[in-house]
């Protein structure tokens, strides 16, 4: 577990360095994630230890959102003042995204089947 956690931190660190050095617009951990994904593809296998540690970390993923979520305290004014645009935007945009994604994917899958 220690080795796998170190691997994750090293990839994050390399990601952060790459973001600063190359002035990338994406967050460091995202670059780390992409690099780890590419490394795994090159390697061709997934080490058991890394799989277990990643699963352990991701199983409690929602816990990690809590400290940031409590930050809502600092934004109560903004949320009360702008409750209408925020709530309408969240509900309609989310449902619309589900519909558009599903329709496009179904259409492309059907076309591919027909094309063969």
């Amino acid at each position: 577990m220690l080795a796998a956690l170190t691997v994750l931190l090293v990839y994050q660190l390399v990601g952060e360095i790459a973001v600063v050095a190359l002035q990338l617009p994406v967050p460091g951990p995202v670059v780390g994630m992409a690099l780890l994904f590419v490394s795994l593809m090159i390697r061709g296998t997934l080490p058991d230890e890394l799989r277990d540690t990643a699963q352990g970390l991701l199983r409690h993923l929602s816990l990690l959102f809590v400290p940031a979520g409590v930050g809502v305290m600092a934004h109560l004014n903004r949320l009360t003042n702008e409750w209408l645009p925020i709530s309408v935007s969240l509900v309609f945009s989310t449902l619309l995204t589900i519909a558009v994604t599903a329709i496009v994917m179904r259409a492309l899958l059907a076309r591919r089947v027909k094309g063969r």
Partner: protein
């Protein structure tokens, strides 16, 4: 004689121990309630924990900064957890190759729809610029969304709250939208949920079937990556406009 409770509280709240422990305790309590309620989407453990902690901090007059002094140790793990998302993504590599082009098309359509419609609707209804910046990546998993918003000068903690709300809305509403569209394919249902509602949607998709869950997890990771590139690009274009 034992020190008065208030004094003890002042002493304890100055160390990270109190709020770190409290965060873990409250979350596990919230998760217990969520499980007991048969994983009802409205009792999302994140929403529940946040509500309980905010109530507690307000009652004790504790500023957020003091709380975060302890909770930052949990928050820090978001970084390695984001890197760890590469693992389930890699585990789905075969499925990814199999439906490569439909996935690319659906992903792009979904990610653009999420960004444009969230900002467009909020803008049309008069939201402020800072809110627009913070609501844009609402469909992306929190560590990625917060990272993007932080770099662009938005409010990461507001984004975290909006992302969690989005997840809950998606998890509750997806069934009705997908049924209305007569979409039966589990891979399509899962992929749509993961694109629109990230991890909370993925948890919901796993309740439908393993296939839906796997495609949802895949969509969550990919949508995060695509948005991490598209959104800063979009902001750059909008800011460059006269």
């Amino acid at each position: 004689m034992a020190p008065p409770l208030a004094e003890l509280w002042v002493y304890l709240s100055a160390t990270p121990l109190l709020f770190l422990t409290l965060t873990l305790l409250v979350y596990q309590g919230a998760y217990w309630i969520y499980r007991r309620a048969g994983f009802h989407p409205l009792l999302n453990p994140v929403a529940l924990s946040v509500a309980l902690l905010v109530a507690l901090l307000s009652l004790t007059d504790t500023p957020y900064e003091v709380y975060f002094g302890g909770a930052q140790f949990v928050h820090f793990l978001l970084g390695p957890a984001t890197v760890a998302l590469a693992v389930p993504l890699y585990a789905q590599l075969d499925k990814l190759k199999h439906a490569f082009w439909p996935i690319c098309g659906a992903l792009l359509a979904g990610a653009v729809t999420a960004l444009v419609s969230a900002v467009g609707i909020a803008w049309a209804l008069g939201a402020s610029d800072l809110t627009l910046l913070s609501i844009a990546p609402k469909s992306v998993t929190t560590p990625i969304a917060m990272g993007i918003v932080e770099r662009l000068g938005g409010l990461p903690s507001l984004t975290a709250v909006l992302v969690v709300c989005t997840g809950i809305i998606g998890a509750v509403g997806a069934k009705y939208v997908l049924d209305a569209l007569h979409i039966a394919d589990q891979s399509v249902r899962g992929f749509a949920l993961g694109t629109a509602a990230h991890g909370i949607g993925t948890a919901r998709a796993f309740q439908e079937s393993d296939e839906a869950g796997a495609f949802s997890g895949l969509a969550m990771g990919l949508c995060g990556l695509v948005t991490a590139v598209l959104f800063p690009l979009g902001v750059w274009i909008v800011r460059a406009l006269p």
